[in-house]
Amino acid sequence: MSSLPAPNPLAAECLGPPPLNPGDDVAGYETLLARLVAEVGPRGLIEAANLRDVADAMWEGARLRRVKAKLMTTSADRGMSEVLDAIGVPADEARALAQGWAAGELAAVGKVDAMLDAAGLDIHHVMAKTLSLRLDQIERIDRMIAAAEARRAALVREIARYREPIRTAGAIAATPERECTEPPAPEGAAAAAAGAAA
């Protein structure tokens, strides 16, 4: 964790290990943290902790989105089985076909596609059915994603709020000042404004 904005080993220990699960992209996390550090230039343990939490909240949000996508993919066979059942395929055959389809067996995929075509359905109907079967889990994951994003936004605001009165009063060790500007408009808005001006 060379990019960890911690003044010394004690601080690094207090922030705990990075939120990386087995198989996570360690370099990706380090790049994210390094970019945040380059952007903000944290001064002191408090800003370092806030910034690290911003990175962790972003990482957690991304992971939860991945988990949601994984849940949909791994449950698609159940959705397919239910859809086949609904269009009149006997339950045992529907289950076997759905399992074969999920495993990527060519014969099963071809047969399932033909059945769905004949019924005027496609993969979107299957995913909608899958969503309805897993709605409880998806809803919980969505709530956790929303919480992580709210946490991230609040932490960024807290960094700004912490820095402002201290800087104005000159009560913190001096480091090179950054230019004080208003938050820029999102890129889309800037492009739209340029287009309107043209």
Binding site: P7, L10, A11, C14, L15, G16, N21, P22, G23, L36, E39, V40, R43, G44, L45, I46, A49, N50, D53, M58, V67, K68, K70, L71, S75, D136, Q137, R140, I141, A146, A147, E149, R151, A153, A154, L155, V156, R157, I159, A160, R161, R163, E164, P165, I166, R167, T168, A169, G170, A171, I172, A173, A174, R178, E179, C180, T181, E182, P183, P186
Partner: protein, 186 residues
Amino acid sequence: MTSARKVFANRANGRLSKGPRTVGGRQRHDRAPLRHGLSLPVLLDAALAPEVDALAREIIATSAAGPIGDAHRAIASRIAEAMIDLRRVRLAKRPLSIALDADPANIATLKALARLDRYERRALSRRKFAVREFAAALAGTDPARPRRTRWPGFPGLAILAKAPNWDNSSDLKGHATSRKRRVNSR
């Protein structure tokens, strides 16, 4: 208004129906806070007290350039406690997060993670208010009346400071406010 007789009966009935009754139920209820210990204050754990002190000193050393008093040290200790609380919660979340990665459909893991989210939110909130107090103490201002914060030049982070609008509720609120304004202006 509810009569005194009804109030008395409601209270008596309420006393009869609240809480676990069986011995096993009461024991489970008593053991509930001991499951992960995250609701207990950090300083109850004697092993963590020196760490809190060291961390508070580090916060002061890296954050303040002016004179430091006992009040500053007390607030720094509160920040340190909240930081250690946060670390405890995150360490508790780690195995659950790994389990969820392995089995996204496991509803028990999802519920357990959501429960721990609450402790994380509380620790973050404690740290936030302690940090605000610390900043105000360093700057000699009133924490209850913050100065208007100017955006301190993080153009890359501006977009991150806005939580996404998940349910369009702010649009609805804006609409309701503007209607109310119209009604009031008539």
